[in-house]
């Protein structure tokens, strides 16, 4: 896509972000509202060197993407709630096998089928805790069309950089909303590290200093064995020594935990020493931003803290600004998910929770009013 300014949807922006990142493989199973992304990929993918594969289900969609990634592709898939639930086993597999792969999720209402065409933020804890075992993923929460582009690019880059599954958790509103999006002249693209030594000397799961091992590509003679079983640095399965498991899983988590400062992103909008702080992400953050403007226009010191990365969670940064505030309002389109992360760093008595369980607009005035702020 030519650089420039467009009036387009979040789905389009995510598709452009993927292509700008050099994505070459996209697999999906239709589900609303993520099918919009598939529609864009079908339209723009092939001529830009990307193969689109309609899988038989979401399990296969992510499985194929992981396979494609090992065959050298930059691979991704898109889905929504129920499909995301089906993918969890393979998220866990991708984490264990250190496979770079990107998932774009158009969050809708659950549990179960819920309201399929309505937005919500009900999958955000599932991104981290949905699969079995300890692992770390990188999760972005875009709040406008521009971020659908920017954060999709980042998701690809981080997936490649740290060899983890990276996710873009967009709510359905952000996927469908059309507004201005700028495709920049140049996009920074990160590619996975390749082995620097010949196959005879190569140990496929031996990490470098940054805790990330270089990744060979199938068919290049490295004869790597990829397994979801606990494996040593040579890639040989080890099922009897719990310390090998301890060490491996610790590294898988540590490569993100120890580098969280390089990954964490957030926006603070408003005063640096706010009296009232609103915590919001994704679509509800748009209303929250408006609420901050409203409060400040009435002479109140107020700020919005908006995590762009839900995982790793910007807890330190939130704590620092929240310490100054008298009141912290958490806004979510669910019955309290990221709220619990806020409560880990902000005393409960300061926190009020403003929520709708589903796609019910929360106007700016309502956030302030329900949050107990009088202007």
């Amino acid at each position: 896509m030519k650089p420039g300014k467009y009036f387009e949807s979040g789905a389009w922006a995510a598709a452009m972000g993927a292509l700008a990142s050099g994505a070459t493989f996209f697999s999906y199973y239709p589900i609303e509202p993520a099918t919009d992304i598939a529609e864009e990929m079908v339209r723009y993918g092939p001529k830009n060197g990307l193969l689109v594969f309609e899988a038989e289900d979401e399990i296969s969609a992510l499985g194929a993407a992981i396979g494609a990634s090992w065959a050298g592709a930059k691979a991704f898939t898109s889905t929504s709630g129920p499909g995301f639930s089906l993918m969890q086993e393979h998220v866990s597999y991708a984490a264990m096998t250190e496979t770079p792969v990107v998932l774009i999720n158009g969050m809708r209402e659950g549990p179960s089928t819920g309201q399929a065409t309505k937005a919500a933020q009900q999958d955000v804890m599932q991104t981290k805790w949905g699969g079995h075992g300890d692992y770390e993923v990188i999760v972005y929460a875009p709040y406008n069309t521009q971020e659908m582009f920017d954060l999709t690019v980042k998701a690809f880059n981080q997936a490649e950089r740290w060899r983890v599954p990276a996710m873009v958790m967009a709510d359905k509103m952000t996927i469908l909303l059309m507004e201005e999006v700028v495709i920049p002249e140049k996009v920074e693209v990160v590619n996975r590290k390749r082995p620097k030594v010949p196959p005879e000397q190569f140990e496929p799961f031996k990490p470098e200093e940054d805790l990330v091992p270089p990744m060979p590509r199938f068919g290049d003679g490295y004869r790597v064995h990829v397994t979801g079983v606990t494996h040593n640095e040579k890639g040989v399965p080890v099922s009897d020594d719990p310390w090998v498991h301890h060490k491996l899983v610790k590294r898988l988590c540590d490569k993100i935990r120890k580098n969280r400062d390089k990954i964490v992103e957030y926006e603070v909008f408003g005063d640096e020493d706010p009296e009232v702080l609103i915590f919001a992400y994704g679509f509800p953050a748009r209303s929250a931003k408006e609420a901050i403007k409203l409060a400040r226009s009435k002479g109140m010191k107020a700020a919005l803290f908006r995590p762009k990365t839900l995982w790793p969670f910007p807890d330190k940064e939130l704590k620092e600004i929240a310490t100054k505030a008298k009141k912290v309002i958490v806004v979510e389109w669910n019955y309290g998910q990221m709220l619990n992360e806020v409560l880990k760093v902000v005393p409960e008595e300061k926190v009020s929770f403003v929520y709708r369980i589903g796609e019910i607009p929360i106007p700016p005035e309502s956030i302030l009013e329900e949050g107990g702020v009088r202007i």
């Binding site: 300014k5 467009y6 009036f7 065409t117 509103m173 469908l176 909303l177 059309m178 507004e179 201005e180 748009r286 209303s287 931003k289 408006e290 403007k293 607009p361 106007p363 700016p364």
Partner: protein, 175 residues
Amino acid sequence: MKVDVRITGIGGQGILTMAKILGSALVREGKYATLIQNFDTFISGGESTADMRVSDQPIEYPVFEKADITVFMAKKTYPRYINKVKEGGIVVINSDVIDEEPKGNFTVIKVPASSIARKLGNVRASNMVMLGALVAKLSLANPEVIKELIREKFKDKADLNIKAFEEGMKIGRGI
């Protein structure tokens, strides 16, 4: 400047196309617009509504309940949205399909969009007629930019659509 425009009709009438062209024109002119699509299902014949907020400032919150300008393309969504017109707002109706006389504290603009489009050769171009009337009457966007966008969007079918847009503009100016 902040105007809330609602375009409503049924799937297949080109509600989204119309809204997207308008939004693209605004963005190209350096203004700001947001577009929220609401639809029952993807099936043609279901309700289709585009809620657009238009402004000369960046828009944070794109949701609104009552619109300043509401465009009705079909009867089906009329009862639902006629009560969501702002006091002193504007109602634009496709007078070929809506035979009721909208009553309330608002201005009514009638555009026989379907019959004009049919005369031009394709009833499906009625959305462009409506867009022309809307743009001419309310000076929402630069008509030349819109024509440019119609040409980009419809390519070899652009001529009919541009003609429909121009016919709509004539009506808009005349009202």
